[in-house]
Symmetry: C2
Subunit: 110 residues, 2 copies
């Protein structure tokens, strides 16, 4: 639990992706820029992300509402990053926009 979530409903963008190792020139800088810019967008709540040993990443980005997701998707710098991602960096990705209806958790008492 890397951030404090609000009570549902809120939104999740589930991103499963794999980089194409053939040409990652410029990727790290763009990834960092998008992370910084993305965090500053209205409605952004937080993220969970894991990358396995084969470079496959699973990330969930959380937002207050669907409008915030659409606004970020259409952000000019983000559109350019998406274009370069498809042309150069990603082998594949799959993205789902989902409305979180229920949430619960557990933390061991120390």
């Amino acid at each position: 639990m890397s951030f404090t979530r609000p009570e549902p409903p809120y939104y999740a963008v589930i991103i499963s992706s794999a980089l194409d190792a053939a040409d990652l020139d410029g990727y790290a800088a763009m990834d960092e820029r998008m992370a910084t810019l993305g965090r500053a967008q209205p409605g952004y709540l937080g993220r969970e992300s894991r990358t396995d040993g084969n470079g496959r990443e699973l990330t969930v980005l959380y937002y207050r509402d669907a409008e915030s997701i659409e606004a970020w998707k259409q952000h000019p710098e983000h559109l350019e990053a998406q274009r370069r991602g498809r042309e150069q960096w990603y082998a594949d990705y799959h993205i789902e926009v989902a409305k979180v209806e229920r949430a619960y958790g557990f933390r061991r008492q120390k």
Copy 2:
């Protein structure tokens, strides 16, 4: 993309978890049993999962509908696994049930 998803709407269960390394006795066997049993449940569609180098796992389980999720949550063997998980294996977990409203993807042409 480890499985073929249907057209939305369908459901996602987003699970962010960390094991407690102190006592993992029995965990691997139970984890495998739950994966086998879980795959056989009505409405189960597939999963995406990544584990980072620190034992933090991010898994998304996909289901046809919310009723399938609730039925699996209440399955007697799964209830017992959940109880042992809280008592023995997990340091923490956070679970969200979300309705996938939109989905799209990209795959590089070879």
